[in-house]
């Protein structure tokens, strides 16, 4: 009885959604003027604007005159996946769309995306990118780029404490911060409006040294817990607060405020990634960027993550499926990667392509981004990563405020995971 009601309601919803989509499709068809007759058309939901994505689309269509791409755009990140969710619920899943750590559980779990494991275009993809969209030994997203964040530093301010670079050992880093503070320089600031980057790097370094490619995935298979994985690296990170180097203001500091404080010459070091480097380079500062220092028993590492992957709808069949594969093959080609870097700014990390980066960033690009020495916990959280991330941020903020302990942060994460 209930299942009948459910199926009736769902079919009504589908009918409504179908009506809506049909009217949109009719409108788009009217706009399109029917110029794609005789071609195989694939739908592509992009999260780059048409202006940015158009050179890639045009180049692909020129190389494949028998295929047309029906392009649509939605702004990342939440808006994009809301659009995707709505289209999937209305049986209008795009042939090609993006997949990211927060949505892979649903997209893969519901059987909505195709298995790309054995496709030739997966051959040159970096290990970190393969791991990011892997589930049960199969890969569902083709990701060709990544980002890596490091410690940006003001050379002139560091020189006031006799340093010319960021120390690569955590104890030495903390000592430098204290020396700078003694010299009247604000040594280091961070934002705790996300799970702290330094802590994430400590986690990643630990797994990398242990040769553990699964990272925090073990928590989600029941082999481990946050209470086992988090406290040690978190205690090291928390020394910043324990030893009076950073204060509770981190809770309300934004990335933009940190960048502006650094550019104004008020701050010696902070953590950021490629998105801020153009603004920093445009300033008159004498600056550099370094990997995160190594916690005791660890190694220098970087916070970072693969770019969102390209996924193919599991419902694509025949010519549509082949056309979709051709499109991703083109994106993985030398021309496709060059265009992606040129127009979208993709920091390509495949084994067969290298991009030109700012000289200051070269070390991070070569030694960390290209070699997959990057870590972002959410990429390894197989279940409810978004909910856990929010909980993690809130717990870290409470820790910084002195309301809870490191052990309570980890226990809180386990409690949240158990409730989801």
């Amino acid at each position: 009885m209930i299942s009948n009601i459910a199926s009736t309601a769902v079919s009504r919803r589908q009918a409504l959604a179908g009506l809506g989509m049909a009217s949109i499709a009719a409108t788009l068809a009217a706009c399109g003027g029917g110029g794609n007759s005789g071609k195989t058309t694939i739908t592509y939901l992009s999260w780059e604007t048409e202006e940015v994505a158009r050179p890639l689309i045009d180049a692909f269509e020129d190389a494949n005159p028998d295929i047309a791409i029906d392009f649509s755009y939605s702004a990342p990140t939440a808006g994009y996946f809301q659009t995707l969710q709505t289209r999937i619920a209305g049986n209008q899943q795009p042939t090609v769309h993006r997949i990211n750590p927060e949505t892979k559980e649903k997209l893969i779990g519901e059987g909505l995306v195709a298995d790309l494991t054995d496709e030739p275009f997966m051959g040159a993809i970096a290990d970190a990118n393969l791991r990011a969209y892997e589930d049960d030994g199969k890969i569902y997203g083709a990701s060709f780029g990544a980002w890596a964040a490091g410690v940006v530093y003001n050379r002139d301010l560091l020189a006031q404490a006799g340093a010319d670079d960021v120390p690569q050992a955590w104890d030495e880093f903390l000592d430098l911060c204290k020396q700078l503070k003694g010299a009247g320089v604000t040594p280091y600031r961070e934002s705790v409006q996300d799970i702290p980057s330094m802590f994430q790097a400590f986690l990643g370094a630990g797994y990398d040294l242990a040769g553990d490619e699964r990272g925090e995935k073990k928590i989600f298979t029941g082999e481990s817990t946050f209470a086992e994985e988090w406290p040690e690296p978190m205690k090291q990170w928390y020394r910043l607060y324990d030893e009076g180097i950073v204060g509770a203001e981190s809770v309300s500091l934004t990335g933009t405020q940190l960048k502006e404080d650094f550019i104004a010459g008020n701050l010696a070091m902070f953590i950021t990634g490629p998105w801020d480097l153009a603004d920093i380079a445009a300033s008159d500062l004498n600056w550099g960027i370094s990997p995160m220092p190594a916690a005791p028993g660890g190694e220098p590492f970087a916070t970072g993550a693969p770019d969102p992957g390209f996924a193919i709808s599991a419902s694509a069949q025949g010519e549509e499926l082949e056309a979709a594969k051709k499109f991703i093959t083109f994106l993985a080609s030398q021309e496709g990667l060059r265009l992606a870097n040129e127009h979208i700014g993709t920091l390509v990390n495949t084994s067969d392509f290298t991009v030109e980066v700012a000289p200051e960033y070269q070390g991070l690009y070569d030694d960390y981004l290209k070699t997959s020495k990057i870590y972002l916990p959410m990429n390894y959280w197989d279940h409810a990563s978004d909910a856990l991330q929010l909980e993690g941020i809130a717990l870290c903020q409470q820790l910084v405020q002195g309301q809870i302990t490191v052990e309570q942060v980890a226990a809180g994460m386990d409690t949240k995971l158990a409730s989801l």
């Binding site: 309601a9 509770a248 981190s250 978004d386 409730s419």
Partner: protein, 287 residues
């Protein structure tokens, strides 16, 4: 009969864009709908149990109610005297009226971002710079402590809303016949007595409208806390609407998001209806 035909398009739109989605939301709240798969199962009240056992959602409920009540009371308390002042004749009156009204023109989301800079915890933050130059005070992290963050969110909302509601009261003030005040003056009534016995009763319908808008708007608040504090520190300034959006869309938990939305709709309806009943009684007593 013919006139009721004019209602048909409105009724059609209401049913299609409000009644149907509301019914669907209630239906989804009783299923395991993720937002993606159309293959759903009936789970009864499980999603409602999840909502009431999640501490972050309960914190969101507490702050939402706190925000709605505080902004309703504070804006009303400040807007009425402001309207009385703006109703008097003085040089530059229109400019002052415009300035106060202008505060409500930008979107709350933009105001949140602007105030994030004003309340920056750095030495260079606007408020911290002023306090340092006047009193030599150290920088204060206004948005980094739960209590001060809540106070800041509420005060920014009050700052932004007072002018608009004062303008609303101004319209009601201008409708009060002048001879009532003339008669009261002849009878020897002072300014305070005139305010208590003439202005306030005559403003009663305006107070009902204003507090209704404030309460319903306060319960639906999303943009200001989201841009000013992102719901933090911790979940101190998290709101129910934020939870609905985060759970339903970002986390792919449309079932829990729907349950939250149903509870929220019912709660708002109850509070607003109760408020209207109380307001109407007060209005009758004052009139």
């Amino acid at each position: 009969m013919a006139s009721s035909a004019f209602l048909l398009p409105v009724i059609a739109v209401f049913v299609l864009l409000f009644a149907v989605p509301l019914a669907q939301t209630f239906y989804f709240s009783l299923t395991n709908f993720s937002g993606y798969s159309t293959d759903v199962e009936f789970v009864g009240l499980k999603n409602y149990a999840t909502v009431f056992s999640d501490p972050s959602l309960l914190q969101g409920l507490v702050f939402t109610i706190m925000f709605a009540l505080a902004t309703t009371v504070l804006i009303t308390v400040f807007a009425i005297p402001l309207a009385v002042v703006l109703n008097k004749r003085f040089l530059g009156r229109n400019l002052v009226r415009s300035l106060f009204f202008f505060l409500s023109v930008p979107s709350m989301a933009i105001l949140g971002l602007v105030w994030q800079y004003i309340l920056s915890p750095l030495d260079t933050g606007v408020v911290n710079s002023i306090l340092h130059s006047l009193f030599g005070a150290d920088a204060v992290a206004w948005l980094a402590q739960s209590t001060s963050a809540r106070v800041c969110v509420i005060l920014v909302a009050v700052w932004a809303g007072v002018g608009w509601h004062a303008t609303l009261y101004l319209a009601y003030l201008q409708a009060i016949p002048a001879d009532l005040y003339e008669q009261a003056e002849l009878d020897g009534a002072g300014q305070l007595q005139q305010f208590r016995h003439i202005t306030l009763p005559q403003l009663a319908p305006g107070i009902v409208v204003s507090t209704f808008l404030l309460m319903s708007g306060g319960l639906k608040v999303y943009d200001l806390p989201f841009t000013l504090t992102k719901g933090g520190p911790g979940f101190a300034t998290n709101t129910l609407t934020q939870s609905i959006i985060v759970q339903g869309i970002a986390q792919g938990r449309a079932d829990v998001g729907s349950a939250l939305a149903v509870i929220f709709t019912a709660a708002v309806a109850l509070i607003v209806l109760a408020q209207l009943a109380v307001s109407n009684r007060i209005e009758r007593n004052l009139s």
